[in-house]
Subunit: 406 residues, 2 copies
């Protein structure tokens, strides 16, 4: 018991911060979109959501909203209520065909990235994706909740290890010590709290030891790489059937749902269809989601995507110049401003919210204990004034506290 | 290892049947809706989907499709890409307010019923829903995949047991032998393969021993009870904070997503908000889903719902009269026609499909080994000719095989 996760402990340590967040009016905020990049609450507080994961601003793209409406009109239903393994809307095939074109590999649409990992990780643990041998699974210590959530299920199928963050020596050592076993390393591509996986070095371990790689690349999809293939695909020289990528289509992709990317004609395609958990026994993405995915994929195949990616990079450049953090110049949209403790983070975030900027106060269990701070995301649909205005507000509050950065 | 689930074994035993299903053209069928209750494939095969879970036919209700479109138009986005724990569309609150009215309790919208259980079960195991004592969890042997999927995670938090299907004596015995422990029984309300939980008797055990109850009532929601509160709520005398219900809004409810139902003002409300897994760290239901949920909830509060429920009951009566099965007269929409083995089931299903009826061939691991058969669902949007036509086709094929019912 308590071998893999520990919900009780997570609540015990995180609860006080959640309560403070609630007391400060920073949780469960409900809004509607406006004509600008501001959202507005029912009592008319207008603010910019600095923790939106829509890094290219595609969540507000009229073609995507229109695509979602067309999805519903074409399907004449919200969801066909049967397992897609048996019967599904033809929109599923359309969406998967165009996503496969965007990502240049086999793409499967899922209800969410969480649903994708919920099914894929236990299937991986069973050995059916690794030549029918149960692999030894190495989880990076910082993998996203959606993957850590499935550790126990994987641990019930096979041996699992947790490795220090991005620790290549640890991974290579496991490969060396277990020459006859299949080894899988599970990681984020771009991490939700900033940073990224050493993809090129991991590919070298794959070449050398046959290492399998499983990435959640949600935070770089669309925002990074040609056609928005994401950080992992941009860094990999080849994409073979020892590499699995899952990602959210609800972040920079601008719609909702998730995707499983695998090499074309991988030997395990049918097992993913029939046996990757929620993909087989839960509901598929609805018609609006499928319609939106098709519309967003068309944008990904057009010149517009590169324009938006450039705008995001310009904004990151502006931010990094004015406020260098440990995430400076990494080309990825997440920046963490560290603060000394979670009370500071929440207080700071509250003041910023009053000034019209919602930043995400992060604390354990979202980040490691003692690493509280503010999470900020840059987007293509921000202008220079948004960034300078935000940083002026940060500086003003920091001056008041006189402990900013402490 | 292999203590709770076993993906490898499930594939080993189920794979041959999945392959046969594929070979017979009975899997991955893609369709569009027509103006009638038939769907149509791209090569113009028109058929009636006898395994649609839209028991009231609401998946084709124009007001619901229109509600989904309005959801998108009002939100002006498909999804707000931030955790709903921090910021969400005001449509979330609207949808939850009207669902709470329909179900007369606290209702939370989730991305799917699978996502609901994925978060709720480990949270339940942690003790934070049971007065901060880790409970002893009893899973019914026949619980749906979405709950069985989380057994290992629960087992990592606390002790779990699997009990024979609907075995009240077993449950009472556990209560008697563990007088100082919190005990939770996890079950389906209406089972996806027919049958239902002994809700009234379970409530007696709750009264007597303080037993906690967790139900997935996906297959009876909307189809059963006043305002469509479902089988469990209809049978319970009271709904207190020792009872948890999750359900899909993508079956008879006619939209997509899921719902968590708890008593009003339960002491653990905040823990569900912050710590029920995907509800906190995965994407929320999209704007189309929320708009559709609001539209369907309005139908649930109108007289139309009872009319549809009556039509469903009339169709069940017609079916049971002409083809009595073990599910006869239970008022729930699922019927299983047992066949001797899975090859028969698939062959039979193939012939029926040619005749214009998709029935679901079921085999291990969907049902217990040796219990293969056809799963049929009745709906409100079928007429008598649909049912007699289907049963004539069944009888014709059975005569050919001369082993029907063997």
């Amino acid at each position: 018991m308590g071998k893999y996760g520990n919900v009780q402990k997570m609540i015990e340590f995180g609860n006080e911060s959640w309560n403070s967040l609630k007391d400060c009016g920073l949780s469960d905020i409900r809004v509607r979109y406006t004509d600008t990049n501001r959202v507005i609450t029912s009592d008319n507080h207008r603010f910019i959501n600095m923790c939106s994961c829509s890094y290219l601003g595609l969540d507000r793209h009229p073609k995507i909203v229109q695509g979602a409406i067309q999805g519903l009109e074409r399907a004449n239903t919200v969801t066909l209520p049967t397992s897609r393994l048996r019967i599904g809307l033809s929109l599923i095939d359309e969406a998967e065909a165009i996503l496969s074109q965007v990502f240049d590999c086999k793409a499967r649409v899922t209800l969410s990235c969480g649903a994708a990992s919920s099914g894929m990780l236990p299937l991986l643990a069973s050995g059916y994706l690794t030549e029918k041998e149960r692999p030894l699974m190495i989880f990076d210590k910082f993998v996203h909740f959606s993957m850590a959530h499935m550790k126990s299920s994987c641990g019930d199928e096979t041996d699992i290890l947790t490795c220090p963050h991005n620790d290549l020596a640890f991974i290579e050592d496991v490969c060396l010590k277990n020459p006859t076993r299949k080894i899988v390393y599970i990681a984020d591509g771009a991490y939700s709290m900033g940073g990224y996986a050493p993809v090129e070095e991991l590919e070298k371990l794959q070449d050398k030891y046959g290492l399998y790689l499983y990435f959640d690349d949600s935070h770089s999809l669309s925002a990074y790489g040609k056609n928005g293939v994401g950080y992992v695909r941009s860094k990999l020289k080849s994409f073979n059937d020892r590499t699995f990528i899952v990602a959210s289509l609800g972040k920079a992709f601008g719609v909702c749902g998730g995707v499983i990317l695998t090499a074309y004609n991988a030997p395990y395609e049918d097992f993913i269809n029939t046996s990757s958990g929620p993909q087989a026994w839960s509901q598929p993405l609805n018609a609006a989601g499928l319609g939106g995915v098709i519309a967003s994929a068309q944008i990904h195949l057009s010149d517009e995507l590169e324009t938006l990616q450039h705008r995001l990079q310009d904004n990151l450049y502006t931010f990094d110049k004015l406020c260098p953090t440990s995430n400076k110049d990494n080309g990825l949209p997440i920046r963490i401003i560290e603060l000394s403790n979670s009370n500071n983070a929440i207080e700071f975030s509250k003041r910023l919210f009053e000034e019209g900027y919602y930043s995400s106060a992060v604390f354990f269990p979202i980040v490691a204990k003692g690493r509280a701070g503010l999470r900020i995301m840059m987007r293509a649909d921000m202008d220079t004034e948004d960034i300078t205005g935000f940083l002026e507000a940060v500086n003003k509050i920091a001056l008041d506290y006189k402990n900013f950065g402490s």
